[in-house]
């Protein structure tokens, strides 16, 4: 079960740079429930990595561990050469590793603008609000509205915008398309593509495998807390056994 299938020809795309995040054999727990088993992975500069797997495979836990919301009991995480696995989450965020959590966690009692201002507070060189509103014109229209009055799609835009305004080195996107209408998913996908074109490094967890594969340079597949596949989207598509066994039905 724990065998890592190395796909042949998993070479990097031309634009991909030096390793940015190096995860080595981390083991994470919720309470006493063992979620991640010796998970290793790497993310390079300007790379989009898709982390796939079924519900409960440990994808969200992996992102939370990277962001410092969960601390691994063993293993190391290096970010730009420095060990970060023991750092508190706000320090990790300040270093430029920014999580967009699955539940979005918009501050319902704060306006759209306040949500963005809060996110920008601890960023050294935040993007101007106008740049954010250029990416998400919908948010400009609703800038004075309380977070709790936004639709699901608007909340997801705001959640991503909160990350972008901090100009993170890496964005960790946890199920950004979940529960959204197709049109909004396409809109968000376009935003993501534009980010990728600018060289933004992204780690994306998504159940919507097809959407994730259109973005990713490289994929990892988790199953029951074990890393079971690493390779390019092409290599994954060419491995129907992996697709069916770990992702499909």
């Amino acid at each position: 079960m724990t065998r890592v299938i190395k796909a042949a020809g998993a070479a990097m795309d031309g634009g991909v740079g030096a390793p940015m995040i190096e995860v080595e054999r981390i083991n994470s727990y919720y309470g006493d429930s063992h979620i991640l088993f010796d998970v290793s992975m790497a993310v390079h500069e300007r790379e989009v990595v898709a982390l796939l797997g079924r519900n409960g495979a440990g994808k969200s836990t992996t992102l939370k561990t990277l962001a410092g919301a969960v601390h691994p009991r063993s293993g190391t995480i290096r970010f730009e050469g420095a060990a970060i696995e023991a750092l508190p989450s706000h320090v990790i965020a300040q270093r430029g590793l920014q999580l967009v959590p699955e539940e979005r966690r918009i501050f319902g009692g704060l306006s759209v603008t306040e949500n963005l201002e809060l996110a920008a507070l601890s960023a050294p060189q935040p993007l101007p609000l106008d740049d954010i509103f250029a990416i998400f014109p919908r948010l400009r229209e609703r800038r004075g509205s309380y977070g709790r009055s936004l639709s699901g799609g608007e909340q997801q835009m705001l959640a991503i915008a909160r990350a972008l305004i901090r100009r993170p080195r890496v964005i960790l996107l946890d199920e950004p398309f979940e529960g959204l209408a197709v049109i909004i998913v396409q809109n968000l996908l376009e935003v993501c593509r534009a980010l990728v074109a600018q060289g933004q490094t992204i780690v994306i967890v998504e159940q919507n495998v097809r959407a994730a594969l259109t973005l990713a340079h490289r994929t990892y597949v988790l199953n029951n807390g074990h890393m079971v596949f690493e390779g390019t989207p092409e290599a994954l598509r060419a491995a129907p056994d992996v697709m069916d066994r770990y992702l499909g039905v």
Binding site: A67, A69, P88, H90, Q98, P101, R105, G109, L121, S122
Partner: protein, 291 residues
């Protein structure tokens, strides 16, 4: 039946008392909302502020010095307590947090009793606060009008701090979801420290302002603590507008009931609290968050 001047005079008393309650309760409520800690020592902090006024007014006769000293002393005390003790309690059950702050409150009261004695002592009115205002058809003590003015300014400052500053932004966000604030790069622990210190300071300032209205006695904070609980239950947990409106409501109920039958003044606020609990358990402005 009371006369109209009596009624107006009591209504003014209600605003004076209610605005003070609002100031104390907003500190208590913000601490509760952001940190999840119900500070049972809050009444004792109010009492400490009043004793600072007693000492400062006695020594220098300067109300400004008393206000500054009271604010600073309680800010420092809040700072020290959060760093030294309270922060170790964030992960413990709410009952433990109540117990430890209850114990701290006793220590404060007893320390004051030891130093200043158990008897009540008069605090002089500041020179500019002596006198009577003539509202035409009723007379009202000048200092009480000034109390209403000062507390209004302070509540406004509290409002600006919460709703117009970066610190306030972090605090309001932290009341909703401290973990997400942390994930967005802001050190929540530091915010907790700021909130606890500011909450203590608000109680201290209220104590300074209250002292000349009455006298000081070591256990004077206890009824205020309980009335603040009533304010929070009525206004809604962690809500600044709730604390302000709840404070005025409680102040008015206390004062106006006194006009008709003083014996039932206290009972009346508990009756209203009970009503709120039954009809709207989250309080007037509360959301169904914590607890």
């Amino acid at each position: 039946m009371p006369t109209l001047p009596q009624f107006l005079s009591q209504a003014f008393n209600g605003i004076a008392l209610g605005s003070l309650l609002a100031l104390i309760a907003s500190g208590l409520s913000i601490i509760l909302g952001a940190l999840g800690v119900l500070n049972f020592a809050h009444g004792a902090m109010f009492m400490l502020g009043a004793y600072v006024a007693f000492v400062a007014l006695g020594a220098w006769g300067s109300f400004g010095a008393a206000l500054a000293l009271g604010a600073l002393a309680l800010l420092a005390l809040g700072f020290a307590l959060e760093r030294g003790l309270i922060r170790f309690y964030y992960r413990r059950p709410p009952e433990d947090q109540i117990l430890v702050t209850f114990g701290l409150g006793i220590m404060m009261v007893e320390a004051v009793r030891y130093i200043f004695g158990p008897l009540s002592q008069r605090v002089p009115l500041p020179g500019w606060g002596q006198g009577i205002v003539n509202f035409g058809f009723f007379l009202y003590p000048l200092y009480r009008v000034q109390v209403i003015g000062m507390v209004a300014v302070l509540l406004l400052a509290f409002y600006v701090l919460l709703y117009r500053t970066r610190i306030g932004l972090v605090v309001r966000a932290g009341i909703e979801d401290a973990t997400m604030v942390q994930l967005l790069g802001t050190n929540v622990q530091r915010m907790f420290l700021v909130v606890f210190s500011l909450g203590a300071m608000a109680a201290g300032i209220a104590g300074v302002i209250y002292a000349p209205l009455s006298s000081v006695i070591p256990n004077m904070g206890e009824p205020f603590l309980v009335e603040c609980f009533v304010v929070i239950v009525i206004g809604g947990l962690g809500s600044f507008p709730g604390a302000v409106v709840g404070g005025i409501v409680v102040g008015e109920i206390l004062s106006l009931t006194t006009l008709f039958n003083p014996a039932y003044a206290q009972a009346a606020i508990y009756a209203v609290m009970t009503l709120v609990l039954i009809v709207r358990p989250r309080g007037l402005f509360g959301t169904l968050g914590r607890a």
